[in-house]
């Protein structure tokens, strides 16, 4: 015959409830607990009686209980949902949630503390996963922040660079305006009085002058020619230095010989005591800038006249053959010192041995720029016997556009 089921009474509910029960004396020792709790932790009722809650906790749990939950219990008379790890007899860890409530008498004296315990293994695992997820999210957020920070830095830098570029562009524009003004002033304001001076000298040519007067007029003519050349050079220098470059007006079928002859004639007139020998072999018209080639020749010849000995002739040779045009100007005189040679085609390099010190040192610089503009070269050789400057350019080459 089967035994009748145990009656549903409070005693049985307490002992076999689906949760653990424990009551503590005021000194914290266990006075009563239920069978469910005994089964969980592996101790008998008798073994648990007289133990303290601490004895079921790890050392770490004890410390935390004593510093956080015990004060809380004293302060508010209860605590709810406190996470604890019980340590069972076999040393396994049992994660639990505990609720506690103090029972006091009418005078407020503590009688005992009742604790209800629920297993929380899954919940703890879930919490740990949540925690992990939170940690991961925080890490991702920190990475994102770091990324944003570098992004902001990069944007800031790009904006700064952009601003700098715009500023330098604005400066560039200002400089260009200044350059145009400067060149206009040079070209206009210096040339105009020179032109009227030149006109006056030409008028004097028609007059009946004394031999002394004739000589003075010739000197004046030479001076205006040289001054005009200086102004041209300064203008060109200003253009190249301020970013404009030397402007070339290339034309096809330029007859170069008459251009060279005119230059030689002008300089002969201006320096009557010098001898200039010419030898031109230019069978066909060339592609070049007529005015600039004249300016180049004038600069080379002017340079030779300034530095050469008057006792020997200055020789100007030009010939076009084998696809190349070569113009050379040779004079006798002191050799150019090596230190000057290195910088000969730089602006403001002036010879020290010539009789004529009033040049600006721009002639050879401008000449070399013109040579470059035509895709050609300008070279100098200087020995004790003679100094020779040689300009070469291809007859059919494309001239170089100015920078």
């Amino acid at each position: 015959m089967a035994t009748p089921p145990p009656p549903e009474d409070l005693e049985d509910l307490y002992e076999h409830a689906p949760c653990g029960y424990m009551s503590l004396q005021p000194d914290g020792r266990i006075v009563k607990c239920n069978a469910t709790l005994c089964a969980w932790v592996g101790y008998s009722h008798d073994e648990l009686h007289g133990k303290r809650l601490h004895d079921l906790l790890s050392v770490a749990g004890r410390i935390f209980f004593e510093t956080h939950f015990a004060p809380l219990l004293r302060m508010q008379g209860y605590f709810d949902e406190v996470a604890l790890d019980f340590i069972a007899r076999d040393s396994t860890k049992i994660p639990v949630l505990a609720n506690a409530m103090e029972r006091r008498d009418d005078q407020g004296a503590l009688l005992f503390t009742r604790i209800t315990i629920f297993k929380a293994t899954d919940r703890r695992r879930y919490e740990r996963e949540l925690l992990e997820a939170r940690t991961n999210a925080q890490t991702a957020q920190r990475e994102l922040q770091a990324l944003n920070a570098t992004l902001e830095t990069r944007i800031r830098r790009a904006v700064e660079e952009r601003l700098q570029i715009e500023e330098s562009l604005a400066r560039e524009r200002q400089l260009a305006e200044l350059r145009e003004q400067f060149i206009a002033i040079l070209g206009h304001d210096l040339r105009n009085p020179l032109a009227s001076l030149d006109g006056g000298i030409r008028m004097l040519h028609g007059e009946n002058l004394s031999p002394q007067g004739e000589r003075v007029v010739k000197l004046l003519q030479g001076s205006t020619l040289r001054m005009s050349g200086l102004i041209d050079n300064i203008l060109d220098f200003a253009r190249t230095q301020l970013g404009g470059g030397i402007a070339l007006k290339i034309e096809d079928d330029v007859e170069v010989q008459p251009v060279l002859e005119q230059v030689v004639d002008e300089l002969r007139t201006a320096t009557p005591d010098a001898t200039i020998e010419t030898e031109f072999t230019i069978p066909a018209p060339m592609r070049c800038d007529r005015i600039r080639i004249g300016q180049l020749a004038s600069n080379l010849l002017g340079n030779a006249l300034a530095h050469g000995h008057r006792t020997s002739p200055v020789r100007v040779r030009a010939n076009a053959a084998d696809g190349e045009f070569v113009l050379s100007v040779t004079n006798a005189g002191e050799p150019i010192p090596p230190s000057t040679m290195e910088r000969l085609f730089q602006p403001f390099v002036r010879g020290t041995s010539g009789r004529n010190q009033d040049g600006l040192g721009l002639g050879l610089y401008i000449a070399s720029e013109i040579a470059r503009g035509h895709g050609g070269t300008l070279e100098a050789e200087s020995t004790a016997e003679e100094t020779r400057l040689t300009f070469c350019m291809p007859l059919t080459g494309n001239p170089v556009e100015p920078d």
Partner: protein, 262 residues
């Protein structure tokens, strides 16, 4: 920043002589709510929260400054200077007992006497010294704090909602008491339980009262006796109270021991 805001300082009482209370690891100045009012008639009572606890300014927290107890002691001295404390009574619980010891050395004249409740100059055993814990046990505590801050602290907030039995513990309690930023709690635990302030005890320039509980797993009777022996001038009172928080569990006993000392 003024330490008044930084440390959530509250001042009450009718006396002129100051008495300043410092809470230990775990909770905040509410730890003193059953003790401090007893001195309000005769003292100017000063309560505060350590930075990182209670309603202190969390933005003032830095791992560097509060990486040792000295940072907390500096704060205490700053509070004393700002409030112009002279000949004050310092009452410190648990780790704050040692913070008070350090401050009394740093600022001579600020305190007339120290009341040390459950003090321990070192929690980890060291040769013949018995602090009560092995290094491994403390490491386990620190690891568990890192492992389960939800169980330890975040879950505390809902746990202290509402208070039907003791309405005098108002809402302010539910929001701050025993609630700590998990990261700060972890660092404070490390600083507290790794500390070794034994060398400071003989340098204390003022008299001290050591209040020792029975059955205190955090600071044992042996440790209390050690503190008493190494202080130049001290009284040791063994309370009948058990546990680590007699200021909560046996406030009357604490109050009467303090009165007879003062």
């Amino acid at each position: 920043m003024s330490s008044v805001e930084r440390n959530n300082i509250t001042i009450s009482g009718n006396g002129s002589r100051p008495m300043i209370f410092a809470h230990g690891f775990g909770c905040d100045q509410n730890m003193w709510r059953f003790v401090a009012p007893a001195f309000a008639d005769d003292f100017k009572v000063v309560l505060f929260d350590h930075v990182g606890a209670g309603r202190s300014d969390l933005s003032a927290y830095s791992s560097e400054k509060y990486g040792s107890l000295a940072g907390y002691a500096d704060d205490l001295v700053e509070i004393g200077e700002e409030l112009e404390l002279r000949d004050a009574v310092f009452v410190g619980h648990s780790v704050s007992a040692m913070i008070g010891v350090m401050a009394s050395i740093k600022a001579p004249g600020m305190f007339e006497s120290l009341v040390l409740v459950g003090p321990s100059p070192r929690y980890i055993d060291d040769a013949d010294y018995r602090g009560g814990f092995s290094r491994a046990e403390i490491e386990e505590l620190l690891d568990s704090l890192a492992d389960n801050p939800m169980g330890w602290s975040a879950a505390m907030a809902p746990a202290i909602m509402g208070n039907p039995d003791r309405p005098e513990l108002g809402e302010e309690l539910t929001n701050s008491f025993c609630r700590t930023d998990p990261d700060i709690a972890q660092e404070f635990a490390r600083v507290t339980f790794m500390s070794d302030s034994r060398g400071d005890l003989p340098k204390v320039p003022v008299r001290a009262l050591v209040l020792q509980c029975r059955d205190d797993i955090i600071a044992s009777e042996q440790v209390g006796e050690y503190v008493h022996r190494h202080l130049p001038e001290s009284q040791l009172v063994l309370l009948n109270a058990t546990g680590h928080c007699p200021n909560l569990s046996a406030p009357d006993e604490v109050i009467s021991a303090m009165r007879s000392f003062l």
